[in-house]
Structure formats: C-alpha cells, structure tokens
Amino acid sequence: MSETASTIQFFTGFSLNDLPFLAEAAGNTLLISVISISIGSVFGCLFGWALYASKYARIFLGSILDVFRSVPLIIQLLLFFNFFPILGFPLEPFAAGCIVLIVYTSALVAQVARGGIEAVPEPMRRASRSLGMSYFQDMRYVVWPIGARAMLPAWTGVALGVLKDSALVSVLGYLELLRASQILITRTQEPFIILAIVGAFYFALSYPIGKLTAKLEQRWQYD
C-alpha cells in the first residue's frame, strides 16, 4: 500500500480544472469533423452524380475513390502527412487531417449519393422530363429531394463514422479529444474515468443523431 501511495504522489489526480482542457479538445474534434463532413459531403454528392451519369467516371473516379475505402484511415493520414514535406511545404496536423478526412468522407458519400440517385424511380424522372423540365431542373426539383431522403440514413451513418474516425487525427499530433485524453491519462494515471468521459462525449453526439435518423426513416416509410 505504501508503495502505491508514494508513486501516486508524482502525478496529480484528475480534477475539475482539467475539464476546460477536455472541452477545448472536444471543440477541436467538432471543428475538424464539421469541416470534413460538410465539404466532403459536397464533393461526395458531385462524385456520386458523376458515377451515376458517366461510365468513364465509374471506371476512373470509381476506382480512385475505392482506394480510400480500402486503405486504413490511419495509413492515409500518415502517408499524406509525410508526403507534403517531400513537396517542400510541410502541413499543419490540422490541415493535413482536414484534407485526408475530406477526401475520405467524399469517397464514402459518393457511394451513398449514387445509391440515392438510383433510388429515384425511372418513371418519375420520365414524368418530370415529359413536363418539359430540363436535365438540371429534373435533378434539382425531382431527383435531389427524393434521392436526398433515400440517402439520409446511409449519409448519417457516414457522418457519424467520420466523427468517430476523426479521433485518428490524434496520431498527427492534433489536439483533439482522444489526444487530450491520452495526455491527461499520462499525467493523472486515471485511465478509466477519463476514457469514460471521452466516450460519453462521443456517445452523447452519436447516439441521439443515430436514433433520430432511424425515427425519420421509419416515418418516411409510411409516406
């Protein structure tokens, strides 16, 4: 007992003063997630549309995007982070993390978006074209609203996945939630409580959003 007591003296326990530090890190997690998800989704929708519309896009763009789904995100991050110094201008961990997460998100969303467009029944599109809508009007007023509903559950899945995967940017040294928890654990030697707090933060974001989407999906099925 006396032995453990003496080792503990080297560390300061986890206290309320550490909460602002965790909160700041949580803010960073949210920041990088929101940026990556929003920009990545825009690109993803464009890619998805290209995949749907063009055979060549399916072959070339499709196989490039496929690479980002077949290589672990952590490897993508490390590759990219080590690639820019080679070009002569090293990137901040935040910037590198954002770029990789955006590309990663867009690769995942592209598939979802393509599925969404394909979910719009062909007769409905023929109907809108026969009303004299142009291709882009058809896309804007018919395909987008219907397809967006069809892809919402899968898109939410991707978005929540990226939120959780953003934890990996910690390997580049970006101070997000998981990195902050590691720093605190090293100092306080109280891994359990700190991991529980961090886990609770992710859970509190991910769980309600997931449940809400499932509810919406159910409601739309009756429409």
Binding site: P72, I75, L168, I185, E190, Y202
Partner: protein, 219 residues
C-alpha cells in the same frame, strides 16, 4: 523537390511486411469469429431475452456503435489497467475488434432473424421438426444469406481497424511498418507499400467472399 525516394530498404523489408500482413489477417479473422459468436448471442438476447439480458445486449451494441474504435481499443489497453488487468498488445486488438464486430454484427443478425417470416417456422414444425432442427435447417441458413454481405463488409472493416494496433504496440501490418520505417527514416515509402498491401488484402477478401457466395447461394 529535393527528396529522393529510396526503395531498397522497403524491398529488403518486404518479407517482414508480408508476415505482418498475415498477422493482420489473423487478428481480423479471429476477431470476426469471436465477434460472430458474441454477436449471435447478443442478437438472441435482444430478440428473446428477459429485461436484464435485453439491457445488457443493448448497452453493448450501442457502446460499440457510438464510440470510436480507437477509444474501444484504448479501453482494453489501459482502461482495464485501472483494475490491474494488463492485456498483451495482441489481446488488446483482439478484444477491441471483437467487441466492435460483435456490436455491429448483432444488429445485422437481429434484422436477419426478424426478416424471416414466422410461417416458415410453423411450416417446419408442422413437418415434425423439433425447434432446434427448425433453427439449424430452416431459419439460420436463410438468415445466413441475408447477413452474408454485411458480414463481408464487417470483415473488411476488421482488417482496416486492426491498423489501430500500431497505437497500442501491436506489430501487425501498420505497427510493423511504423517500426521498420522509423528505423530507416523512409516513412513515406514504407507507408505507401503498406497501403498497397492493405488494398490487395481487402480486394482478396472481397474476391474470396464473392466466390464463396456464388458457391453457397444457388437460389
């Protein structure tokens, strides 16, 4: 660009990388086997269990699905250390991945069982089959087809997630790559080759899964 690529250290390390890839595959396969078994049990608990069982299974499933896989790994890594439990790096990865796989698969299995109409069960019982015969011969083969594709997906995820092993000191493909790369300072080259390894591994898994499904599902 004044960087010169040096591939020789990587080529020399290829046999090491290859055996590391096998460790990755091994960890993924083992975690899938454990995950499938636990996932089945969790699905049963949520479908047919009493209240405490339902609660336990639901907590597992929601925790696995709503927190980062890396956090789950850390939990098995140093979180358990708080209780004086220290797992080897291999066990940390195996437990973490199995925990995650089980949570995701449980939901797939539950959906699969719910999708088989009750009359299938009645029809089998009417032929004099026992409850267990009905499950093993009629219900589970049909559920298996429904969950085959999600299971393949989860297997790919398991391979990708196992790369997190490098952060808890496990020398699978990523861990070994980092180790070898930091010895030679050719980080970019090494990680590029590791990426190729992962890509090929994932494509191989999908190919094998496709071939098996063609053989299994003739209907």
């Amino acid at each position: 660009m004044d960087y010169t690529f040096h591939w020789r250290p990587v080529i020399k390390a290829l046999p090491d990388l290859f055996s590391a890839a096998l460790i990755t595959l091994e960890a993924a396969v083992l975690s899938m086997i454990v995950g499938i078994i636990i996932g089945l049990i969790l699905a049963m608990m949520r479908l047919y269990g009493n209240r405490p069982m339902y609660f336990f299974a639901t907590v597992w499933v929601e925790l696995a699905r709503n927190t980062p896989a890396l956090l789950q790994l850390f939990f098995f890594g140093f979180g358990l250390g708080a209780f004086g439990w220290h797992l080897s790096p291999f066990m940390i990865v195996l437990c973490g991945l199995a925990f995650n796989n089980a949570g995701y698969l449980a939901e797939n299995f539950r959906g699969g069982f719910q999708a088989i109409p009750k009359p299938q069960y009645n029809a089998a019982r009417c032929l004099g089959m026992s409850a267990s015969q009905t499950y093993t011969r009629i219900i589970i083969p049909q559920v298996f087809k429904l969950v085959y594709y999600p299971m393949t997906n989860q297997m790919v995820w398991a391979v990708l997630m196992s790369s997190l092993g490098m952060l808890v000191g496990f020398r699978e493909l990523s861990g070994a790559t980092q180790f070898l790369a930091s010895n030679t300072f050719r980080l970019f080259e090494f990680f590029l080759v590791a990426a190729v390894f992962y890509y090929v591994l994932v494509k191989l898994i999908l190919l094998v899964a496709h071939l098996i499904s063609r053989k299994l599902f003739t209907y």
